[in-house]
C-alpha cells in the first residue's frame, strides 16, 4: 500500500521516487541489451539511453534523499529498498522482449517523459526545474531516436510490422498508469511542483498517434490500464527479479565503498 502522505515533503519524496525509480528501472532494462543489439549503432544508442537514464536517476533519487532527510542518498535508495518501496511505473518493468518491443516501450515512455519534463521546467521547486532542464535535453533526443525507429520498424517489412503491432498490443495496457493521478499528484499540483498527469493525456495521444500513423500502426482503442507501480501497491512480478541483480552486491557486502 502506498505510504500515507501526511506532509508536503512526504508527497515530494514520493514524487521524486516516481521519477527516479522509473528512470532507474528502465535504465536497467535497456542496459540488459549491452552487446546484444541487432546492429552496432543500436548497441551504442541503447547504452547511451541507459546512461542518460541512470544519470537522471542519480539526480532524482539524490534529491529524494535530501528531501527525506534521513541520510539516505541515491545509492541507498536504489540499492537498499525492496520492491514495495519502489515507485517505478509498471511500463518500465516489463521484460525487454525482442528489439521491437524494447524500442516501442522506449518510445511510449519517451513520449510521456518528454511532455512531463517539459511541464516540470516550470516547476515551483527550482531543484526539480533544474533536473528537468538537464533531463529534457537528453530525453528529446531519446524520443527522436525511438520515434524514428518505431516508424522504421512499423513501416519496414511485413514481419517487422507484425512484431511492432504485437509489441504495441502488449505494452498499451501499461501506458494508462502514467496518466492516473492520485493524492501525491494532487499535492504536487497544489504546490506547483508538477502537473496533473491526466492533463498530459491529450498531448500524448496526439504525439503517439502521429508517430504510430507514420509507422502504419493503429493507436489501440482499449483504455484498460494496469496500475500499482507509481503508488507501489502492486508491481509486476518482474521488478523483484530486476532487484535481485541490481542490488545483490550491495546486499551481500553491506557498508562498503566501491
Amino acid at each position: 500500500m502506498s505510504t500515507a502522505v501526511t506532509s508536503g515533503d512526504d508527497a515530494l519524496f514520493e514524487f521524486l521516487c516516481r521519477m527516479g525509480d522509473s528512470t532507474l528501472v528502465l535504465g536497467h532494462r535497456v542496459s540488459e541489451w549491452c552487446g546484444h543489439a541487432p546492429v552496432l549503432e543500436e548497441d551504442i544508442a541503447l547504452a547511451n539511453t541507459a546512461l542518460d537514464l541512470i544519470g537522471q536517476t542519480q539526480l532524482w533519487l539524490g534529491l529524494a534523499g535530501e528531501v527525506e532527510g534521513k541520510g539516505r542518498d541515491a545509492d541507498k535508495l536504489a540499492f537498499l529498498r525492496d520492491g514495495w518501496d519502489f515507485r517505478s511505473a509498471l511500463l518500465t518493468e516489463v521484460p525487454n522482449g525482442d528489439f521491437g518491443r524494447t524500442l516501442m516501450r522506449q518510445f511510449l515512455f519517451d513520449a510521456w517523459h518528454s511532455i512531463y519534463l517539459g511541464r516540470l521546467l516550470k516547476s515551483s521547486d527550482k531543484r526539480v526545474a533544474d533536473i528537468a532542464e538537464k533531463a529534457s535535453k537528453e530525453v528529446s533526443y531519446h524520443l527522436e531516436r525511438s520515434a524514428d525507429t518505431v516508424v522504421a520498424l512499423g513501416d519496414g517489412t511485413e514481419e517487422s510490422h507484425a512484431r511492432m503491432a504485437d509489441a504495441l498490443a502488449y505494452l498499451w495496457p501499461y501506458v494508462g498508469e502514467l496518466f492516473a493521478g492520485d493524492a501525491v499528484d494532487a499535492a504536487m499540483v497544489e504546490a506547483g511542483v508538477a502537473p496533473d498527469p491526466a492533463s498530459l493525456r491529450e498531448e500524448y495521444d496526439a504525439l503517439v498517434g502521429r508517430i504510430l500513423e507514420e509507422a502504419t500502426l493503429a493507436l489501440p482503442e482499449g483504455r484498460f490500464a494496469h496500475k500499482g507501480g507509481r503508488d507501489g501497491r502492486m508491481h509486476t512480478e518482474h521488478l523483484g527479479h530486476i532487484l535481485t541483480q541490481m542490488q545483490w552486491l550491495q546486499r551481500a557486502y553491506p557498508g562498503c565503498t566501491w
Binding site: E42, E159, Q245, W258
Partner: protein
C-alpha cells in the same frame, strides 16, 4: 621488389601515411584487414564480459561509468570497422567472418568476469595492455588506422584510470573486497601478459609487419614494458603479483618475470577458453535475432528514398 613496392616502402620509411586510394601491396592490405578487423571484433566481443556486470554494478556512479565505457568500446568498434572498410571490405563481411570463426578477437575476452573486482582488473590490466599495444600504433603507416588509434587511445587511458580506481577502492576496502581484488589479479595477470602474443623473435611475419609499420614494437618489448609499468601499481595497491619468480633485475633495469602458460594461450585460441563458446554464440544469436530489424530498417529506408524520388 617491384618498382611500386620500392616506392611504397620508401614512402613508409619516410614516415608518410598510406591512404586508402594509394597503391599498396596485396599482403599489406590483407594483413591490415586482418589486424584492424580483429581489433574491431575485440571491441565488440569485449562488451560482453563487462556488460555482464552492468546490471550488478554496486553504485549508480559505477554503473554509469561502466555503461559509458561499454558504449565507448562499441564506438571504437565502429571507427575500426570504418577504417577496415576503406580497405575494401564491408562491415557485414567482417561480421560474418567473426561469426563463422574465420576471424578472431582478442583471447582475453574468453575469460570470465566473476566478481566486481574483475571489472576493475579488466580496465586496469586489459585496457592497460591494450593501450601498450595501441599507443605505438598511433604512428602506424596506414592513415585511417593511425587516426582511429589516436582517438581510441585517448579514451582507453581514461578507462584504464577508472579501472585502477575500482581496484584502489577494493584494495583499500573491506577484507572481502581486498580478497576480491587479489583474486581478480590472480586470474587476470597471466592472460593479460598473453595479450601481447607469443615471443616474436623468430617470426618472419612480424619482421614484415614491422617494416611496413603495421607493427611498431616486438611482443616481448611491449610485454616487458607492461610488466615494468604494472608491478609498481600492484605494489601501491598492496596486492601481490601471482608470480613467485618476479624480481627486479638491476642489471637489465627491468623486472624478470615468468612467461604465461603458452599451452593455455593456444588452447584458448583454438576455442577452448572458458567462455569462447558463450561469447561467440552470444554474438551469433544477437546477429540472427537482429536480422528482422536490419531487414526492416533497410526496407523502410528504400521506401523513404523512393518516396523522395517520386516527390522530386
Amino acid at each position: 621488389m617491384t618498382e611500386e613496392e620500392r616506392k611504397f616502402q620508401a614512402h613508409v620509411d619516410a614516415n608518410e601515411k598510406v591512404e586508402p586510394k594509394d597503391w599498396m601491396p596485396d599482403d599489406y592490405r590483407a594483413t591490415l584487414i586482418r589486424q584492424i578487423g580483429q581489433h574491431a571484433h575485440s571491441e565488440i566481443v569485449g562488451q560482453l564480459p563487462e556488460g555482464n556486470w552492468i546490471t550488478r554494478a554496486p553504485t549508480l556512479e559505477r554503473k554509469a561509468i561502466l555503461l559509458a565505457k561499454v558504449q565507448d568500446e562499441a564506438g571504437h568498434g565502429l571507427y575500426l570497422y570504418c577504417a577496415a572498410e576503406t580497405l575494401g571490405i564491408s562491415r557485414d563481411e567482417l561480421t560474418e567472418d567473426l561469426l563463422s570463426g574465420k576471424m578472431k578477437y582478442s583471447s582475453i575476452f574468453n575469460y570470465p568476469t566473476l566478481t566486481w573486482a574483475d571489472i576493475g582488473a579488466v580496465g586496469w590490466l586489459v585496457d592497460g595492455a591494450a593501450i601498450m599495444n595501441q599507443v605505438p600504433l598511433q604512428r602506424t603507416s596506414f592513415g585511417p588506422y593511425s587516426r582511429a588509434m589516436i582517438r581510441i587511445c585517448k579514451e582507453e587511458s581514461f578507462h584504464q584510470r577508472q579501472g585502477y580506481d575500482i581496484m584502489m577502492k577494493m584494495a583499500k576496502g573491506s577484507e572481502a573486497q581486498k580478497r576480491m581484488a587479489q583474486d581478480a589479479l590472480n586470474r587476470l595477470w597471466f592472460p593479460s601478459l598473453m595479450m601481447f602474443g607469443p615471443s616474436d623473435k623468430e617470426s618472419v611475419h612480424s619482421a614484415q609487419s614491422m617494416a611496413w609499420k603495421i607493427k611498431i614494437n616486438t611482443n616481448d618489448e611491449l610485454r616487458q614494458k607492461f610488466v615494468d609499468q604494472t608491478v609498481p601499481q600492484v605494489e601501491y595497491l598492496g596486492l601481490t603479483v601471482p608470480d613467485e619468480t618476479l624480481s627486479w633485475n638491476e642489471e637489465r633495469g627491468h623486472y624478470d618475470f615468468a612467461e604465461p602458460d603458452w599451452g593455455e594461450f593456444f588452447d584458448v585460441l583454438k576455442g577452448n577458453g572458458p567462455c569462447n563458446t558463450d561469447r561467440l554464440s552470444a554474438r551469433q544469436e544477437a546477429w540472427a535475432e537482429g536480422k528482422w530489424v536490419r531487414d526492416a530498417m533497410m526496407a523502410h529506408a528504400r521506401k523513404k528514398s523512393a518516396a523522395q524520388v517520386a516527390a522530386e
